[in-house]
Amino acid sequence: MLRVIVRRLLQLVVTLIALSALIFIWLRNLPGGPVDALLGERATPETRALLTKALGYDQPIHVQYGKFMQRILTGDFGNSIRTGDPVIEVIGRAFPATVELALAAMIVAVGLGIPLGYLAARWRGRALDHLTVVGTLLGISIPIFFLGYLLKDVFTQNIHWFPPSGRVGIGLDNTNITGFFVLDSLLTREFDATADALWHLILPAVTLATIPLAVIVRMTRASVLDVLNEDYVRTAEAKGLRHRTIRGRHVLRNALLPVVTTIGLQTGALLSGAVLTEKVYNWGGLGTLITDSITGSRDYPVLQALILLAALVFVVVNLLVDLSYAFIDPRVRVR
């Protein structure tokens, strides 16, 4: 087991280094690269040359990359071109918002997805099953930003159930400790703020949850159906075990294995959806940061750090999924 972990960690490092090198080289060979982005319209050949030298862009690319890696390893990603703040701070400020949103979305997706998928499989061919199958097909076919606008229109314009955008209500002064608004307000016992934060969270979380929910439901349903046909389930029935025991110990436990993989993959991919969802609800997290640093003048230092962060999260989540196998499936542990 330990050998597997070490091997995977090494693979992760190699992947990240390769990715960082690729991004680094690409970004620096752009027409309209960082120097032009900094100077904008007023660039003259002199100022451009001056800035190129000041930023070290006149040195050979491998020297630049060495320095770049050195700085990254000490946590220095440079300053944002747009605001001038250190990239680490810019990302740190946006990070909790996205994690909160992603967590809420996964709670919705897993909490609804597994029971729904399981029930659909158990009652195969009945109304609920047909409904879930059609629903999940729609879920993966609908562009989620459109769904976001649709939900926003229905629930904030027609019936005023939820706030249309942002994370906090107007006039609410909540204490900021960790940046996770739900957690902060619980810590300080400002329960009106907790309610407000949850209130703002619901629509974006549902929007972001659509695709993972659909995928988890489908996976659970298919997997449970597979297991129900297994011989050991028939044996368990023949043995006269209670249905509850069969379902819990034999069916669900075995069926959940591929579902765990799906949950992991979907969690890693959540940032894709977050970019879209955050734009719809003006959320102000990492997704918003990505959109902002690409459209208009491009904020390369921020973009580069965000891409590396996204890759890190994605690969680590996948690693965790593989490791979690060992806890669910004893067969993997032996190998």
């Binding site: 690729l22 562009p143 930003f145 940032l271 719809v280 990505i290 690409i294 996204a310």
Partner: protein, 340 residues
Amino acid sequence: MTEPTTQAGTPAPRRKDERPGRAGGASLNRLGDRKKARLEELAQASAGKGGVSLFRDALRRLRRNPAAIVGATIIALFVLVAIFAPLIAPHDPVQRFDELTSQLAADHIPGATDGFPLGSDELGRDLLSRLIYGSRQTLFVGVLATLIGLAIGVLLGAIAGAFGGWVDNILMRVTDVMLALPALLLAITLVALASKSSQWTVILAVAIVSVPVFARLLRGSMLAQRESDHVLAARALGVKEHNIVLRHMLPNAMTAVIVQATLTLSVAIIEAASLSFLGLGDPNRDRAEWGAMLGDAGVRYFEVRPELAYYPALAIIIVALGFTLLGEAMREAIDPKNRR
């Protein structure tokens, strides 16, 4: 299904005295004769009963699956509309009509009027005609992106699967790097790497995102075949190595890839729309494409006239649904688990 599909595969009951182990050295010739006879018997059996190939078998199962029929119908309609767009569309999709532009205001986009059944778009053009012509661009972007992704992915996967060893190792690390980013994020990065976004950056970005999926799928399927009996048989018969790869391994592995391509098409169309929504789409406003219509003007004027978003969104959802339905039915049909 009542009739058995293949008889050739089931071995005839062997008589006791026919066991090859008992044949002994002197009766080698007789053993050879018996084998020949058996082969002929088998050949006749399969000829008489009309053994069904995997492909025809899958096709037959596909025709009985209502999901596949619905999916194929949607796709056929979509392609027909795209082909005959100039005949169906009532107006020129690019022309701005005075009777429509005169009614445009910051808070008003005219709805259905005489001659314009779906009303105007944000610039005073006929929305219906743009939707009809939009099927062309959407089909173009989706199909081209998928084909490019398929071509690169198949090339990488086939090389990795054919050679194995260190070649495979390097190529798979390359796909690892591509897979290290969530799909849309990779597409965003790729578009951002180009200095200006255009229709081609969108197509390329969406294409490249699908490359690792195709590559891994093909590689896995080819590696699995390297050790399989039919490849061993071909090698034993002295078939050249490149012929084994091209004629024996690749065609068998391609089925899964083609199914994946059908599913990728729906993803490609949605991804292109998402890029438009993020402001990274095709900047050409004359070109009617559903993704751009929805992602750009559709959401920008959502509060003024939500129909600008509803119609292209509906079109995208239906077409994506069509490709998904057909793709999944195909995947089910070629799955040997479902062979009966």
